[in-house]
């Protein structure tokens, strides 16, 4: 959250840096197409957007969902020749485009706040890295039960509480865990019957 504030302040000050620029998009517009080696980092200052992959045979998949404060860009994805990656605005969006070398090179006094932004972006990158590692950790559990308990314990740790509300719909959670939704519901029921958890809608309590 504080990350967003930094950018807010800078824009209020009419901050401009030669290595970055801001642009607005309407719902449905293509924000960016991932290009190999361009190394552009995008920061979603306002709105929400989807990362869409189009296969060589035209199949379309939604890979990620971005919301206010998220980073995206080809830097995070392996670009292969037979697929296309696009980020599409789901509503009105404001996006900050930052060139990769913004993070390494300095541009002196023109950008007095360069360092603050650099640190902000690096923090977002590291946060994302931890999220990715944790996702892998959960995906590599063998059973549905283990996946659920692993996800739940991460949630409980983050919220510092045995009781928490799922930030995703159960449908989205099943997708995140890469399991069938109905099989997940069944396992949740068993977990409740066996006294491992308590569940009311999306509110979970661990025991």
């Amino acid at each position: 959250m504080e990350n967003i504030c930094v950018f807010d302040t800078l824009f209020e000050e009419n901050f401009l840096c030669p290595k970055m620029y801001k642009k607005s998009f309407f719902k449905g517009q293509n924000i960016t197409s991932y290009v190999e080696n361009r190394k552009q980092i995008c920061f979603l200052k306002e709105g929400c957007a989807d990362l869409i992959r189009t296969d060589f045979n035209g199949d379309v998949t939604t890979l990620e969902y971005y919301k206010k404060g998220d980073l995206f860009g080809e830097l995070f994805y392996l670009i292969t020749s037979n697929t296309q990656l696009n980020v599409i605005a789901k509503e009105e969006c404001e996006v900050l485009f930052i060139s990769y070398d913004f993070l390494t090179s300095k541009c002196n006094r023109i950008c007095k706040q360069h360092n603050i932004i650099e640190e902000t972006i690096l923090n977002l990158i590291f946060k994302r890295m931890i999220i990715l590692t944790n996702h892998i950790e959960i995906l590599t559990k063998k059973s549905i039960r283990e996946k659920l308990l692993s996800y739940f314990s991460t949630m409980a740790f983050q919220k510092s509480s045995k009781t928490f509300t799922l930030p995703l719909s159960l449908t989205a959670l099943a997708t995140y865990l890469n399991i069938d939704r109905s099989a997940m519901m069944r396992e949740m029921k068993y977990l409740e019957e066996e006294g491992f958890i308590k569940k009311e809608k999306r509110k979970i309590t661990l025991f």
Copy 2:
């Protein structure tokens, strides 16, 4: 590879920076224990090491294998109170410890090569990010067949060839894909019988 060279050169020059230091380890020694919020990045200049997790009930798991040129450190892992993460040297190792703010702050003329190293580390971080994203991509495939074909096509893309040699043992590959090894072998046999691939030991050809 060029990343390693940068560091090699710098050490030959007896390069020293207040924000980083070098240390050597014998086989079996603990290189680092992950500490929440310390934000220390470690670069394995020489040797190989394992990331080991010890559960609250004493169970030990090897989470990752690091080799010359890899990055590690708590920056990449979510630290929870009930597990411990340690990196143990598997052979004689040389490790470069870099404080997180090395990447954001500058230390003027003492480190004339600061920028080069900064860029090197950032490149490693981005490379790792892409690897993680790709791993998730593969892990979220529904069937063993899809996982294998997805992994193979990534390999073929990286090697720019329909024929390539697996960089992992088949046992390690099964672990990476989070599937049973014997089930994987069976699926590979079917893929070969159905003419999707050709396989001689670890040499795979896609059709």
